[in-house]
Symmetry: C2
Subunit: 354 residues, 2 copies
């Protein structure tokens, strides 16, 4: 009776391990085009978007924009056969690669590595102990040898053991100081302006917007409201277990080094069901990790919208899909047309990236 | 790494077993006072409550009503030092015994027993197999002998194996036809009118209202919006695991006979954290199963409200607390005063019950 999906969790950690190897490799800068021409370091992520007069101003006139606007028009028009009551207008968004960038690797992995480095003084034993030694020395071979178990130790050491309040402060502190290793900008400035407009446009039209991400729920909640306008209670992600206890007489929730839920692939419809309890009518992703979320969303009756963000812009962001080590998109591209999913061409469909 | 709280889950099932024994006992009618004088069979549960002119009309002028109104005034007045921004006005409500009645036992257990009886024709083997035989024959002794494991089988047989859509229909069908064994009214008419007014009053004042119940999430979600005005995505409860798969080429979520989460006692702050991600500023319960939820809620900084509904009305509902087999309230009564929690005396503080 008491089991969890070892295989699914296992494959995620294996993926993360590969990513760790990738991000720590000295040549990782090479995966990205040199010239991020529109990147302006001082630019603030903002949800203050005027949607009434000109919805989606950062979107080019394109088939993908028209598909989105047409869908919204149909489900919000009471005279339309596709009308959907406001309470049922649920839209779900992947985060990494859909709302913000995910190169050279998921930003949360960069956070984990920074945390391990920051905690070294409290853990002098790490300098002789794998996989920490490998991280501290940038030793890729040793990290690879530490395997899945090693990466799990890495993540748990950086994400567990503290209270939820302490972890929130750690995330906030990191986000306010850390900068992207290649673009030299705060991570919260690497959110996609067209998607901010889309979130706001949908909410303006009575949608409830949720994040449904493979990333950590508690890594996202501290900042999604300020950056995306998505409240903590509308963030669904992967999680570790927490336990309620008293510390110095005060009740606290302590983060435990045990996987609770992996919100990826077939886990996304499960997460949607667990946390939202309704089938979305619109879903937005960018990788095959989002396939089942789009399948579940668009498989329902009535008007449905499935959108894949295709990373095609090597100049302004990154260009990648089928063979990417992160955000791989292959089955989605193969089946988008027959399933009626919209594929957004970032290079041609977006006037602005960040 | 891969463990779940056997002990906590175990104690819940043990409790349920005791309840099963209780509900099936021939004399269970004796736990309730005879005369439910205000019960009107035709009365509909409704959230259409006018709150602007006279908030909480079903509440008597009382210290408990004043405490609630005073709290709401303080956290919503921008000039008050206790002002709380709207986004942080999270209020959580237990369900059984707080929003609706819970006698003679939790209504969900009556549902499980009805389901087992309804499924008998598909399971001819049950007439010779415990614990089903015991349910079908009303054999309390045999049911008790089947123990915790037996009750788990009972619940899983009635709650798992079908798709989430099928289960939702089963719950809706049951609620539309089943009647309370003593009051002979639909269960959805056994919701507390003063609490409906309170939910609406809080929402009118910018609160987001959540249910945080030990009952099954998916047993509640099909009807909480219509009955309480609480959307499915704002219902937190106990759950079993679900799995995403294809059936006849269609994606479905199938309910598995495995515990996922028990939202009771110390599990309530955990559930609040998992599903809401913010610490509530107000919490409402009625039993010691809500103790930690109130402790967590009122232990935060700033103005906080903790409320216990005390079942004191043997005429119009049921009178019980410390030694009750269901909804036992003992530690809460002992510590309410020192913790500043409000205890609502149903008999004297509520003009109307249902």
């Amino acid at each position: 009776m008491y089991t969890v999906g070892r295989t699914r969790a296992g494959s995620l950690w294996l993926l993360l391990l590969l990513l760790a190897v990738v991000v720590l490799a000295p040549s990782c800068g090479g995966w990205r085009a040199e010239n991020a021409s529109t990147a302006e370091p001082g630019q603030e992520a903002s949800t203050d978007v005027v949607v009434e007069s000109s919805p989606l101003p950062s979107w080019a006139e394109s088939a993908s924009r028209d598909a989105v606007v047409d869908f919204v028009a149909r489900v919000t028009d009471p005279a339309s056969p596709d009308f959907v009551p406001e309470a049922e207008r649920i839209a779900t968004f992947d985060n990494d690669g859909t709302l913000w960038s995910e190169r050279p690797v998921y930003f949360q992995l960069l956070f984990a590595i920074d945390r391990v480095k920051a905690l070294t003084s409290e853990h002098p034993e790490w300098k002789d102990q794998q996989p920490f030694k490998a991280v501290l020395e940038g030793d890729m071979e040793a990290l690879a040898e530490a395997g899945e178990r090693g990466l799990l130790e890495l993540v748990m050491a950086s994400h567990a053991g503290m209270t939820t309040v302490e972890f929130e402060a750690i995330v906030e502190d990191w986000l306010s100081t850390a900068r992207h290793p290649e673009l030299d900008r705060p991570y919260t400035e690497l959110v996609f302006q067209p998607m901010l407009e889309l979130l706001e446009y949908l909410r303006f039209n009575g949608f409830k917007t949720f994040i449904v991400s493979g990333g950590g729920t508690e890594f996202m909640r501290p900042w999604t409201e300020a950056v995306y306008g998505v409240a903590p209670e509308q963030v669904v992600g992967s999680s570790i277990k927490v336990e309620y206890e008293a510390r110095d007489g005060e009740p606290v929730l302590v983060r435990l080094p045990e996987i609770d839920f992996i919100d990826d692939k077939a886990g996304k419809p499960v997460g949607i069901h667990k946390f939202i309890g309704r089938r979305p009518i619109a879903a937005f992703g960018n990788s095959d990790g989002d396939f089942q979320m789009l399948e579940w969303t668009t498989g329902g009756e009535g008007a449905r919208l499935g959108v894949l963000i295709h990373h095609t812009d090597a100049e302004r962001e990154w260009a990648y899909d089928r063979n990417s080590h992160v955000g791989s998109l292959s089955r989605g591209l193969d089946e988008a047309a027959e399933r009626g999913w919209v594929v957004v061409d970032m290079k041609n469909d977006w006037l602005t990236i960040y």
